[in-house]
């Protein structure tokens, strides 16, 4: 009896000494915003991630993928930095991902550099972010990429003079600078500009100022949420006819929710963006269907940023054979390209930033619904700031 037990114990010890090949999960620290005024965008980003995992499973290169989710609660640099620090130090994550807002991404980039962790930015759109850590890639969009392209497009498609109106914060400044620079470089003239305060409830005064100059074109950048509807109403109230005056904006201004809120006041708005859920590309149709089944609503550009972010992580892991060394992961990511629901996209080999198509769309009524109808596109746009474009 005792011999048998002893033998069993030895066997158990031996088995313990040679465990099955390291099946430790790959831990991904997901820093997002799930509460407060940006909650909806953060939730959509997370939904995109969940959709991808549901479609492709949670095992990559023989290892299980585990997401550890953290909520910053809004714009909070010290909280974002602390969460990133704790994820590294306490939870031993292998890589950082998520990042809805620019300031949070900037703060966490420090930790990525210090602790040498691979970092995937899935939404934040300011150019300089990518320069803050050598282990970072981005799968969303940059504002200069979209708005700079737009400026060039506008000037080369019959628009000579433009008035710009942006919200007075980082993304607004970025868009204003990118659009104006590109517009002027392509021969256009900026006849005036104004910046509105963040969370401005009523745009009438600003729209009136624009109208006083009787511009042929108005460029706008505002965040999502309450702003697009308020702006649309201000245009209608001040009698700005979108057929006579071209109004150019970013895709956030004509998102599904914004269009519902603006109603017919949005008809004729021209926007430049990288994704619309109505795209009929087969990969997108599949994505939208799966997304709807899982979450009961349509995806948006936040979701596709998350979706492609996870895709990038999975592909990188396949290339490194499951290894999570930051240098190896970044090397694997550089130059990677794939077909996404948004169209073809890739990770620039020099700047590690996202390269993708930018579509020019106009808001039209299709089948009784307001839709962004694409009528032009610019292929393989790089971020002009960092690639010297």
């Amino acid at each position: 009896m005792q011999h048998a037990r002893f033998a069993l114990a030895c066997l158990a010890a031996l088995a313990g000494a040679f465990p099955a090949r390291a099946q430790e999960p790959v831990k991904i620290g997901l820093i997002n915003v799930l509460s407060g005024q940006f909650a909806d965008a953060g939730i959509q980003l997370d939904n995109g991630i969940k959709t991808y995992v549901q479609q492709h499973g949670d095992v990559v290169a023989g290892r299980k993928v585990e997401f550890i989710r953290r909520d910053v609660g809004g714009v909070a640099l010290d909280v974002a930095k602390r969460l990133a620090q704790e994820l590294v130090v306490r939870d031993n994550i292998d890589l950082l991902a998520g990042f809805l807002l620019t300031p949070n991404a900037l703060a966490a980039a420090d930790i990525s550099t210090q602790s040498q962790r691979f970092m995937v930015v899935m939404n934040a759109a300011t150019s300089i972010i990518i320069t803050k850590s050598p282990y970072m890639i981005r799968t969303s969009v940059t504002l200069p990429q979209a708005m700079g392209t737009f400026g060039t497009w506008a000037a080369t498609h019959g628009i000579k003079k433009c008035y710009t109106m942006v919200t007075d914060y980082g993304p607004g400044h970025d868009s204003e600078a990118a659009f104006q620079r590109a517009f002027k470089a392509a021969g256009g003239e900026i006849i005036g500009s104004v910046r509105f305060p963040v969370a401005n409830p009523d745009f009438s005064a600003f729209v009136q100022r624009a109208k006083d100059l009787d511009p042929e074109c108005i460029f706008i950048f505002i965040p999502g949420g309450a702003q697009p509807a308020a702006l649309g109403k201000a245009f209608a109230a001040r009698g700005v006819d979108l057929n006579k005056t071209k109004v150019l904006g970013s895709g956030e201004t004509t998102s599904e929710q914004a269009l519902k809120a603006m109603g017919d006041a949005a008809l004729g708005l021209i926007t430049a963006w990288h994704y619309d859920y109505k795209s009929v590309a087969p990969l997108n149709v599949e994505f939208v269907k799966a997304f709807n089944q899982m979450h009961g609503r349509n995806p948006d550009f936040f979701s596709v940023g998350g979706y492609d972010g996870v895709h990038a992580i999975y592909e990188v892991l396949k290339k490194t054979g499951g290894g999570t060394d930051a240098d190896a992961m970044v090397a694997a990511a550089k130059g990677m390209h794939w077909d996404s629901p948004r169209g073809p996209m890739s990770i620039d080999a020099q700047t590690r930033d996202v390269v993708q198509n930018i579509y020019i769309r106009r808001v039209e009524k299709v089948g009784g619904e307001l839709v962004n109808v694409p009528f032009d596109k610019i292929d393989n746009v790089k971020d002009p700031t960092n690639s010297g474009g």
């Binding site: 910046r195 401005n200 009438s204």
Partner: protein, 287 residues
């Protein structure tokens, strides 16, 4: 410039009227019971969501939802007053602030839970949409409607205060609570009714606000600052004061953004601080 100034003035007037509707209840309850109810806009939010739920889910016409938007918060305020507020009538300002901030937080979370964090919108009936021309100026029909409604409310409230027995009791309680009690006026009941009316008006304001400034789960906090500014500047316990302050702030905010947009939100805070330093009790406050 003058012509477009009219447009700005008109929009500022509408915005000011909206602020008035949202603030008048707070001014009266603050003046009467000295109770700082920072949760005042939670009632506005309830009114807004009531209107949204009724138009979007049950297909009611927008105008019909307005009485409901008034009643729902009024009823809720009666309950809350009995259960919570009554306990803190004699408490310090700080405690009242904190209790009501707690209520605001709970209401925000409840709104997020029930309706999500998405922006809400109401479908306006066709006769409230679009613009009409007045003196060669394009003015929004809805804004006209809003101004009209707010004026009607202001007149009704002022008339009630001046010409009804209840109004007299309210005025007495605002002027000198102890004396009023001494004269046999049931101040607690007067307050409960006035509180309900004020909350109901806030709810009405909340429903009317959706078309102008939108509605989301954080509404109760976002606009709290503006309402506090109106009440502090106008003076406590005066309808006329609230109206004057709301219009002043609405128009000056709009004008500031039109003529000096670089100042942005700076302007409204500067005006408030300056006004309060000059008249700490508000423009029309007594005590």
């Amino acid at each position: 410039m003058i012509a477009s100034a009219f447009g700005v003035l008109f929009d500022g007037l509408a915005y000011g009227m909206l602020l008035f509707l949202l603030s008048v209840g707070l001014s009266v309850t603050l003046g009467m019971m000295n109770f700082i109810n920072l949760a005042h806009l939670s009632f506005a939010m309830l009114g807004g969501y009531t209107a949204v739920a009724l138009t979007n889910n049950l297909g009611w016409s927008f105008l019909l939802t307005l009485p409901a938007a008034f009643l729902a918060p009024a009823l809720l305020s009666v309950v809350l007053e009995r259960v919570l507020y009554r306990r803190l009538y004699g408490a310090s300002e700080l405690d009242q602030c904190l209790l009501t901030i707690g209520i605001v937080f709970v209401s925000i979370a409840a709104a997020a839970y029930l309706f999500g964090t998405v922006q809400q919108a109401v479908k306006l009936p066709p006769y409230l949409r679009g613009n009409i021309a007045i003196m060669h100026q394009s003015v929004g029909v809805y804004r006209l409607f809003l101004i009209g409604m707010a004026l009607m409310v202001a007149i009704a409230v002022l008339a009630a205060l001046e010409h009804t027995k209840f109004g007299a009791k309210v005025r007495a309680a605002v002027d000198n609570q102890r004396m009023a009690r001494g004269l046999g006026i049931d101040v607690d009941r007067v307050f409960a009714v006035a509180f309900a009316l004020g909350s109901g008006l806030a709810g009405l304001g909340g429903a009317l606000a959706i078309e102008i400034v939108g509605l989301d789960h954080a509404f109760a906090l976002t606009y709290l600052v503006y309402v506090l500014i109106v009440v502090a500047v106008g003076g406590l316990g005066t309808i006329g004061g609230s109206l004057a302050a709301a219009l002043l702030l609405g128009v000056s905010d709009m004008a500031g953004k039109y003529y000096v947009p670089q100042l942005g939100a700076f302007f409204i805070y500067l005006v408030m601080v300056a006004l309060l330093m000059w008249r700490p009790l508000g423009l029309f406050g007594r005590r």
